[in-house]
C-alpha cells in the first residue's frame, strides 16, 4: 500500500513538474485561438503551420540563420574550452613549477568573482578593438581555458596513477607526448563531461550574445527567440512556441544521450544544472 502511494505521488508530482514543458510543446501544434484560456495538452487538430511561420521569423532572416549561428558558437566555444582546459589542467596537475600553488589559488579566486565585475571592462576592451558584432568576444576567451573546467579535469587527472607517466617517460616521451598519449586518452570521461556542460551552457547563453551581437543576422537562437517573443509586439504565440520547442531539441538530445554524464557531473562537482 505504501509502495503504491509512493509511486502515485512521485508520478503525479512529476507530471506537475513537466506540465509546463508539455504545455509549450502541445501549444506549438495548436491554432493561436486555442492556446490561451485552455490548459489542455491535446491539440484539437495538429497544425504544423506554426513551425513554418515561425521558421520564417519576421523579415528576411529565417531561423536557419539563428540555428547556424548557435551551432557555430556552441561548437567552437566547446572545442576551445575542452582543448585549452585539458592542456592547462595537465600543467597544474602533473608539472611542478615555481608559483604553481599561487597561480592555482588565483584561478580558484577568479571562479568566485561575479561576471558582473568583469563584464563592463571586457565590453569596453572589445568595443575598442572593434570586436563588437562579431563572435570573437564570445569565442576567443574560450580558447584560453575556463577555470571551472580546468578544475574539473585537474581533479580527474589526479586520479590517474603517476606510474603511467613515469613509464611513458622511460619510453622516451616528453611532457607533450605524455599528455597526448597517456593523459588525454585516460581523461576522456572528464573531457566528455566538460564538453556536454559547456555545449549546453553556450547553447543557452543569453547575456553574452545580448551584449555583443546586435545585428539580426548574427543572432543566436536564444536572442532571436527573445526578440520574437517581445511582449510589446508579439502576437503569434503558436509560431513562438514552435521555435521555442525547436530550440530545446539540442538540449533534449544531450539529456537523452548523456544522462549518465549529466547526473554524475551535477552530483559530484555541484555543477549548476
Amino acid at each position: 500500500m505504501r509502495g503504491i502511494l509512493f509511486h502515485v505521488f512521485l508520478m503525479a508530482f512529476g507530471f506537475f513538474m513537466i506540465y509546463p514543458i508539455l504545455w509549450m510543446v502541445s501549444s506549438s501544434f495548436k491554432g493561436n485561438n486555442e492556446i490561451f484560456g485552455n490548459a489542455s495538452l491535446i491539440p484539437k487538430n495538429i497544425l504544423y503551420e506554426n513551425y513554418i511561420r515561425g521558421w520564417r521569423y519576421i523579415g528576411r532572416i529565417t531561423f536557419a540563420t539563428f540555428f547556424k549561428n548557435s551551432l557555430f558558437y556552441s561548437f567552437v566555444a566547446t572545442i576551445g574550452t575542452v582543448l585549452s582546459s585539458a592542456v592547462v589542467a595537465y600543467g597544474f596537475a602533473r608539472i611542478k613549477f615555481i608559483g604553481r600553488n599561487f597561480w592555482f589559488a588565483c584561478m580558484m579566486v577568479s571562479l568566485m568573482i561575479p561576471f558582473q565585475v568583469t563584464m563592463i571592462p571586457q565590453f569596453i576592451l572589445f568595443f575598442n578593438i572593434a570586436w563588437v558584432n562579431t563572435f570573437l568576444p564570445l569565442i576567443v576567451p574560450m580558447f584560453l581555458g575556463q577555470p571551472f573546467f580546468i578544475f574539473l579535469i585537474i581533479q580527474f587527472i589526479r586520479g590517474i596513477p603517476q606510474e603511467l607517466d613515469e613509464a611513458a617517460k622511460i619510453d622516451g616521451y616528453g611532457r607533450f607526448g605524455i599528455f597526448i598519449n597517456i593523459i588525454v586518452p585516460l581523461s576522456v570521461p572528464a573531457l566528455i563531461t566538460s564538453a556536454i556542460f559547456q555545449f549546453y551552457w553556450k547553447w543557452d547563453d543569453f547575456l553574452g550574445p545580448l551584449m555583443y551581437l546586435n545585428k539580426p543576422k548574427l543572432y543566436t537562437v536564444s536572442l532571436a527567440l527573445r526578440m520574437f517573443a517581445d511582449p510589446a509586439t508579439s502576437t503569434d504565440w503558436g509560431a513562438i512556441f514552435a521555435m521555442s520547442t525547436l530550440s530545446l531539441i539540442p538540449i533534449f538530445l544531450i539529456f537523452i544521450l548523456f544522462q549518465k554524464y549529466l547526473v554524475q557531473g551535477i552530483s559530484t562537482t555541484g555543477i549548476k544544472g
Binding site: F6, I18, A39, F97, I113, P114, I120, G145, R175, R226
Partner: protein, 301 residues
C-alpha cells in the same frame, strides 16, 4: 647538481608553457578588467567620451537612487524565498528517491529535466505566457473553481513570485547533489537509531541533517550567490526592464540597464563592486553560521 638544476628549469618552462593559455586569459580577461573596473567605478564614463574622474560620486548617488534601493529589495526578496524553496523541495525529493524501487530513474528524470532546460530563453518565454491572464495557470485554477483573470506577470504584487517559482521549479540539480550526499550516510546509523526506537522525525533531525550538513552548506552558498546574480530569467519575464513598476528589476538587471541602455558604465562598475560586497558579506555570514550547524566528522570524534 647541474643536471638537477637543468631539470628544474625545464619543468618551470614546460609548466608555464602548459598553463600559458590560462595565464594569458587570466591577465587579459580577469586581472586587467578587475583593475579597470575599480578605476571606472570612480569615473563617469559613457564609452564614447573619455572617462571623467568623479571620486566616490557613483557610490554616493547610489544612496539617493530609489531605483537602486528598489532593485536591492527585489533581489533580497527573491533570494530570501527562491533559495529556501528550492532547497526544501530538493531535500524532500532527494529523501524520497534515496531508496531502491522500480522506475526510480524515470521519475528522477522528470524532476531534474526542468533544471537542465530551465536556463533557456524558451522556458522563460513559456513561463511568462503560462502566468498571463489567459495563460494555462488560470485555466487550471478555473478547473478547481478558482476563476480569476489576474495576470500574475502583470500584477506588481505577484510578478516576483513567478520568478521565484521558476527558480524553485528548477530544484533538480540541488536534488541530485543532496541525493549523492544521502547515499554516503551509512545505513548502520539508521539501523542503530531504529533499535533505540527513534521515529522518522528524530532520525531526520539527529542523523540526516547533521550528516548532510556540509552538502547543505555547499548548496546554500552556491544558490545564494546564483540568486544574487540572477539575470536572464528576470530579463525575459520582466520584458527587459523590470516590469511591472520595477517589481522584477533584480540587481543584475538594473546594473545591465545602467551600463548598456543608459551607458553609465562608471555607475555600472560601482554597482558591480557593491554586489561583490553584498555577496562577500552573505558568504561570510553563512560560513560563520556554519560553525554552529555544520557537523564535521573530526570534531565529533
Amino acid at each position: 647538481m647541474n643536471n638537477h638544476g637543468r631539470l628544474a628549469r625545464a619543468d618551470n618552462l614546460s609548466g608555464y608553457a602548459f598553463i600559458g593559455p590560462w595565464l594569458l586569459g587570466f591577465l587579459v580577461f580577469s586581472v586587467i578588467p578587475i583593475f579597470s573596473s575599480v578605476f571606472f567605478s570612480f569615473t563617469r564614463y559613457d564609452l564614447l567620451s573619455s572617462p571623467v574622474f568623479i571620486g566616490i560620486k557613483n557610490f554616493a548617488s547610489m544612496l539617493g537612487d530609489s531605483v537602486f534601493w528598489k532593485s536591492l529589495s527585489v533581489t533580497f526578496f527573491y533570494v530570501l524565498f527562491a533559495v529556501p524553496l528550492r532547497l526544501v523541495f530538493a531535500l524532500f525529493l532527494a529523501m524520497l528517491f534515496n531508496r531502491k524501487a522500480k522506475l526510480l530513474r524515470v521519475y528522477q528524470a522528470m524532476y531534474y529535466f526542468p533544471s537542465i532546460i530551465g536556463g533557456s530563453i524558451a522556458v522563460a518565454v513559456m513561463w511568462r505566457r503560462l502566468f498571463k491572464d489567459d495563460g494555462a495557470i488560470n485555466s487550471i485554477l478555473g478547473i478547481f473553481g478558482l476563476n480569476n483573470h489576474v495576470s500574475w506577470i502583470g500584477n506588481p504584487r505577484t510578478a516576483i513570485w513567478t520568478l521565484i517559482l521558476l527558480a524553485a521549479w528548477q530544484f533538480g540539480s540541488s536534488m541530485l547533489i543532496f541525493l549523492a550526499g544521502l547515499k554516503q550516510i551509512p545505513e548502520s546509523y539508521y539501523e542503530s537509531a531504529n533499535l533505540d526506537g527513534a521515529g522518522p522525525v528524530r532520525k531526520f533531525i539527529s542523523i540526516t541533517i547533521p550528516q548532510l550538513s556540509s552538502v547543505i552548506l555547499f548548496n546554500v552558498l552556491m544558490q545564494t550567490i546564483n540568486g544574487f546574480t540572477v539575470f536572464t530569467q528576470a530579463f525575459v519575464i520582466s520584458g527587459g526592464n523590470g516590469d511591472p513598476m520595477n517589481n522584477t528589476l533584480v540587481y543584475a538587471l538594473y546594473l545591465y540597464q545602467k551600463s548598456f541602455s543608459y551607458y553609465e558604465m562608471g555607475y555600472g562598475c560601482a554597482m558591480a563592486w557593491v554586489l561583490v560586497l553584498i555577496i562577500s558579506i552573505f558568504t561570510a555570514l553563512i560560513f560563520k553560521s556554519s560553525s554552529v550547524w555544520v557537523f564535521y566528522e573530526s570534531k565529533a570524534n
